[in-house]
Amino acid sequence: MSARGTSLDGRVAIVTGAGQGVGEGIARRLAQHGAIVVVAARRAATGEPVAEAIRSEGGRAVCIETDVTKGVSIAACVARAVEEFGRLDIVVHNAFTGAIPHRLEEAVLDKHWKGMSLTAGWASLQCAREAHPHLAAASRRPRGEGAGRYVLITSPSGVEGSANIPLYSPAKAAQRAIAKSLAREWGPDGINVNCIAPVAASPSLLTAFDRNPALQQAIEARTPLGRVGDITDDIGSVALFLAGDDSSYVTGQTIVCDGGSFLGL
């Protein structure tokens, strides 16, 4: 590990969708390296146990119930985080919902598109809007004492399309374009904006493995590293890199973190 980038001591991070899966893994990893983490979860029933687990390991975390399909809820989460901790350095927007397998020609917009659009397109822009002044302020701190970071969780499907959930791909592609656009727009403010495209053992994937053990074997067989990623050790560590000072010259990029399964970038 480098001596410079792994400490997030005193920095405040919001992680949306941190009540489980990739968001939980990222929240845990950032907290392990000193960040005060806001576990932004739709339900306290999932978010509070994650915050408690972080606290029990000696970290600092609070759960703030946040529904990212509502702009006012995002604004309230950001406002409370800043009020409670006095600053906001890092936002990781991971929350996502609405991915239901469908045929494109039969898709009903309010059923097969709306949820993904709200949590990917809308929420990525709304999180950015609410966080911007605080991330810019973080970047004005002396080097090593803070830096604005915005990380969006996208998917390899956002690059290559999907035969199973066709409208999932454009929702995730939008986040990559938003990251590139914000990298250009916020570069002068010193804010870095990047994406992670993970494949990890989230609860939904583990459930799918239980239902269909052949799926796990198939994914592992097509993955050069031969396994499915761990939410904390594999995905959380990439988020830590993008949240910290070691990534100070990286912006507008997508890091695919899937064991080498997708090599199309």
Partner: protein, 177 residues
């Protein structure tokens, strides 16, 4: 055979006048609302107008092309989705989402012999102001002269392109590579 062209503006008008095909084809010119706004100031009304409504329109138009039995479908977008653009985050998101939606459609509809591709044009063809969005590329454009997308779109609308699907043909004189 006449090709159905969906869309408004100069690009759509040019394609409507000159694109022909030897099979049933539909061209969808991205129904983008091109407007620059810093994300720190973007309103929910603007997100709806610049992101949500264009996406709903293009999904519906793809479904219409499929229901009408089109064998070739081409979606025309700006390269802004691939490059990103300062103050064009919502527009860029919609453009890139449309370009990747083409890949999903190609994957699902390929077994029916339907091809779906994208043609990407320089941002200014859609009214994106490069002075605001930032340069598409760090290198200058490779080719000089006017860019005419008609031949590229016509090829993708033809029987000859039967084995090309899910692709993006960048037709901008060699700016985005």
């Amino acid at each position: 055979m006449t090709v159905g062209i969906f869309g408004r503006g100069r690009v759509a008008d040019t394609l409507r006048e000159r694109v022909v095909s030897d099979t049933t084809a539909r061209v969808i010119v991205a129904p983008l609302v091109v407007e620059s706004v810093p994300v720190a100031q973007i309103t929910d009304e603007q997100i709806d107008r610049l992101w949500e409504q264009p996406m709903r329109t293009v999904i519906t138009e793809l479904q219409r092309a499929h229901s009408e039995g089109c064998r070739r479908i081409v979606v025309v977008v700006p390269t802004t989705g691939m490059s990103g653009g300062a103050q064009y985050a919502a527009v860029s998101a919609a453009a890139e989402a449309m370009r990747v939606l083409v890949k999903s459609a190609a994957r699902q509809w390929g077994t029916s012999g339907i091809t779906v591709n994208a043609v990407a044009l320089a941002p200014e063809a859609f009214g994106v102001d490069a002075a605001v969005s930032g340069p598409v590329s760090i290198a200058p454009r490779a080719l000089e002269g006017d860019v005419d997308p008609v031949a590229t779109v016509s090829f993708l609308c033809s029987e000859a392109a039967a084995h090309v699907t899910g692709q993006t043909f960048v037709c901008d004189g060699g700016l985005w590579m």
